[in-house]
Every structure is written in structure tokens, then in C-alpha cells.
Point group: C2
DNA sequence: CGACATCTACGATACACATCGAACCTCTAT
DNA sequence: ATAGAGGTTCGATGTGTATCGTAGATGTCG
């Protein structure tokens, strides 16, 4: 029957991953949303992620996330189940993911022009 | 005499800044290095930052950092002194900057191909 | 076996942006 | 006032990459 056979897709050792790589991976809006989704649902097949982009694009982003060490993907039968490498990430970059995922949405205008008194 | 007169350049209210904007600002290698430098030296005039890019490019990056809420810049006489908005950032995104600045450099190869046992 | 579903790989396209050099601006000092 | 130092702005250029559609690979079910 061999249906619950799990194979993990190739992924980097987190010790070899720079913080800049992780930040770059998290910088894309779609990828950030993927990480948020995976964080809430725990794990999900690629197709179950509801995103405003095409399937091939999601696949590409998941590859980026995997290659940057953020996500691991298991082949479970016909589908690929992805999940955040939570514990490993916490060891490598303590507090990073919690702070990102815990960030509350901004209030009002995305970018205010001023905050002081010295405008021209 | 008017030489120690300080004027702050326009900057956004951190409450209106999205986490994605901050991550995008930190994603660039040069900007990340600027943030690291400012974190170590406390504050610095734009020209004192030793970076592998031209002056105008540094200026551009500092603008990006300022508009994303990461850095504040004061006009002190003839020079512009920049500094990280540490306390405000810690209130808005607790733990984010410490985790980024505290990250240790990667060991060896920047990106390993595999990390598990299930390669083909 | 053959049809279907899931996902990835491949080109191709378009847009964002990092970078530079030169011109310009604003203070300071002479 | 004139010159100079410190930074910014502008226009142009090149590269990286997010996106899409289609084709191909792998596994499941009838």
C-alpha cells in the first residue's frame, strides 16, 4: 500500500543559513502570507493555500522558502505537505519568527509622512 | 550661532508601519549592514559609514530605512546624523531587531543542498 | 492500462529597484 | 561674497525576480 510513506525534500542545514537570506525570503508579501498561513494551520498541502497568485508561483515561493530554511516539505503519497521549521528556526534565530508572526497590522495609512516638527 | 540646533527629518509613525515594510527594508544586504553599523556605533553621520557603494546609493538606502521607520535622522549643523529608532521599534515589533542583530553568521557554505536522510 | 489530480520545471515577460554619475542645495568658514 | 564640504535629487542603466501559461513528472483510482 505504501501510502503514508514520507520523504522529505532536500533542505539546507540551518547553521549554514544567513539571517539575510531569511529576511529576504520573508520580505515578499506572498511568502510572508504563506508563512502566516502555515503557522496558523500547522501544516498544509501546497494546493490548499489560498493565495492571490497562480499555482506555479506558489510552488516557486515554496521552493524559495524551503531553500532559505524556513519551510520543510514532505512528500506524502500524492501531495506535498509543507510546514514551518519552528524549533530549528528558534534555535538558529531566537525570537525572530515569533516577533514576525506576532506583529500586529498597522493602523491607518501605510506610511505617514512626518512625525516631528521639522518639515519643509 | 545656531549650530547645535537639531531638526528631525520627516519619518513615519511606527504604528502605521507594516512588518512587511520593515522586513523588506532589512532584506537588502547594504541596508542590513547600515543597521548593524548604526547599532554598534550608536549614531553616525551618513558619510562616516564605510560601505561598498557610492554616496548617493547610501543616501538612497538611508531614505528607505527612514521611510520604513527603522532609522531617524537629525540635521545637526551641516551634517545629518542617523540613528536606529531602538525603543520605538521594540515597542512596535518586540524582539525583532534584537533577533536580527543578534544573529550569528552562518557556518561554512551559504546554502547546503540537503539536511535529511531522504534524498534521491 | 488509461484517466485524472497534484505539483514542479521551463521559458518568456514585465516590473521593481540597486547602483552610478552629475547637477544641485544648504550650511560653514574664510 | 566666495569657496568648499556634506548630502540629496535626478535621470539612466542593468540586474534580479515575481508572475504567468504550458508542458512534464509522479502517484492514485477506476
Amino acid at each position: 500500500m505504501r501510502m503514508t510513506e514520507e520523504t522529505r525534500l532536500p533542505q539546507p542545514d540551518l547553521a549554514t543559513v544567513e539571517i539575510g537570506t531569511v529576511l529576504q525570503a520573508l520580505a515578499d508579501p506572498v511568502r510572508l502570507q504563506i508563512v502566516r498561513l502555515l503557522d496558523t494551520v500547522g501544516e498544509a498541502p501546497c494546493g490548499a493555500l489560498e493565495l492571490p497568485v497562480g499555482r506555479s508561483t506558489v510552488s516557486h515561493h515554496l521552493r524559495t522558502l524551503r531553500e532559505s530554511g524556513l519551510v520543510e516539505t514532505h512528500l506524502r503519497g500524492n501531495t506535498r505537505v509543507s510546514r514551518i521549521r519552528g524549533e530549528e528556526l528558534e534555535r538558529r534565530f531566537p525570537g525572530l519568527l515569533p516577533s514576525v508572526l506576532g506583529a500586529r497590522p498597522a493602523a491607518q495609512g501605510t506610511a505617514a509622512a512626518d512625525g516631528g516638527e521639522g518639515e519643509r
